[in-house]
């Protein structure tokens, strides 16, 4: 049985399997100019990703409990995100947020224990999503090719996030700084998405890391 053999090998109980395992060829590709690659593409892995949601009076309870357990209050404004990444909290819908951090603990259980008594819904999405980080001077050109929002540097600023489609795939796009974006797609689309991103990035040159 393959499961028992991996357990015997001492894989951590949460052990995430990368959706892009073997698909990332580290190195520089495409037509970079004298400045070097226009964008660096990395897989963010392993990540804990947990969705939290509440309704009515339980929203305020959940926000307080989130603040207590995470040290960070989910942002009220639609399509905004907060946090330095440990964790990052992204607004994904009315009274709904995604909590993300590099995997270091069982975030799902932490949030279930903290939020469910107050009536919140807590759903582990860690095995369902994949995330890429795109960073560099050409990142907004690549976003323009794939997603129909205003990607001007003054229009889409750090701390803004949006769910839309990118290269025809549903995507959650989070602006971390002026030239760095974290993009989340469904795990099953991760390879297709990476291929589209690298094709779009080829004319600027890209570094896979």
């Amino acid at each position: 049985m393959p499961d028992s053999s991996t357990e015997a090998a001492g894989v951590a109980p949460l052990g995430r399997q990368s959706a892009l395992s073997g698909m990332i060829r580290p190195g520089d590709h495409g037509a970079a100019d004298y400045r070097g690659p226009g964008v660096t593409i990395t897989e963010r892995h392993p990540l804990s990703m947990v969705q939290i949601e509440a309704r009515g009076p339980e929203v305020a309870v959940m926000l307080e409990a989130s603040n207590a357990v995470l040290g960070l209050r989910p942002p009220q404004a639609p399509n905004t995100s907060v946090g330095d990444g440990h964790p990052r909290i992204l607004w994904t819908g009315p009274n709904r947020w995604l909590v993300v951090e590099p995997e270091s603990r069982d975030l799902d259980t932490v949030l279930q224990d903290a939020l469910i008594p107050g009536g919140a819904a807590v759903v582990d999405l860690g095995h369902g999503r994949a995330s890429l980080r795109l960073s560099g001077r050409s990142v907004r050109q690549i976003l323009m090719k794939g997603a129909g929002l205003d990607w001007h540097v003054r229009a889409f600023t750090p701390g803004m996030c949006a769910q839309t489609t990118m290269f025809h795939l549903p995507a959650l796009i989070d602006c971390r700084d002026e030239s760095t974006f974290d993009i989340y797609v469904a795990r099953g689309f991760a390879v297709s998405f990476l291929e589209s991103v690298t094709q779009a990035a080829a004319e600027y040159g890209y570094r896979l890391g």
């Binding site: 639609p78 399509n79 819908g93 009315p94 709904r96 949006a162 769910q163 489609t165 549903p170």
Partner: protein, 107 residues
Amino acid sequence: MIRINCPYCGLRGHDEFSYIGDATKQRPASPADATAAEWHDFVYIRDNPRGPHQEIWQHIQGCRAFVRVLRNTLTHEVLATGLPQDDLLAGASGPAKTEEAKTGEAS
């Protein structure tokens, strides 16, 4: 592309939205007492109006909220949008106007 003003996300392409249905259709007030004919009317019978029409859409590729849309079925102009409970015809509850609607008024 037609754009729809999501109350949460702002102007987005209509390909991010799914059409849910006619927003003017009322569910029978007392479901247990409604007759078969009333249920048939609620479930199946739809007018096919020409001109401004209220519809429910869902921002399915975005925030997943339901959105009430006042759309001209002849020109496809999106005249107003709001939350499902908003009265777009009265405008009193402050439905967000789209750029298309503003353009339409100006011309």
